[in-house]
Symmetry: C2
Subunit: 118 residues, 2 copies
């Protein structure tokens, strides 16, 4: 799969995909005869996971850490699990915070609604 199609599929610009490769988040992307990148299904899965981590607020540096452990292989399974569990804890806290913010926002909106009839 070429750059353009892959970019559309994963929702990242070609610039961003090259950037992720530059910083080491993506490795060993296959090239075709003319030197163009050719993305595989494995690449799609991996980028999908990167996007998930990113969308939940994990900085690229931390994702990179995970990526490097993954690169090393089976010996790092425990460490990777720990990283994800830490992030899970963070995300759980984050969601709780967002929910409380949503409540506060709703009560502010209700204040506006009741103030309309003044």
């Amino acid at each position: 799969m070429n750059m353009q199609a892959f970019s559309k599929q994963v929702g990242l610009s070609a610039y961003t995909l090259r950037y992720y490769e530059k910083i080491g988040l993506l490795k060993n992307i296959r090239r075709n005869a003319s030197g163009h990148r050719s993305y595989s299904n494995k690449d799609r899965e991996w980028v999908g996971f990167i996007v998930r981590l990113k969308e939940t607020g994990m900085p690229l540096e931390n994702i990179l850490q995970y990526a490097e452990l993954r690169e090393i292989g089976k010996g790092t399974l425990v460490e990777r699990q720990q990283l994800l569990e830490q992030h899970q804890a963070y995300l759980t806290r984050h969601i709780a915070l967002q929910l409380s913010h949503l409540e506060a926002l709703e009560s502010k909106i209700n204040w506006y609604k009741s103030n309309k009839m003044n």
Copy 2:
């Protein structure tokens, strides 16, 4: 209330508080005889709301928009309510997304857990 104490209370650095003033997010902060800022309870409430909006992912530019409407006065109640309702919708979607990400993360963690016994 002076800079230092206020900074601690609202959880923003003195730098950030000055920066917010510079970009117009904070206005008419009282000054004492020696020209130092003196924050009021109203200021604390307003900064608290700014922080809430910021923590739920609203860009400063949008918060500034709300701030400017607020500055104008009662005539902008409807507009402000609309802004908040848009943000409420955004936040609701955001939380739903985060929850789905959390689920996916948990199933990934479970995969790690079951792979331990290989």
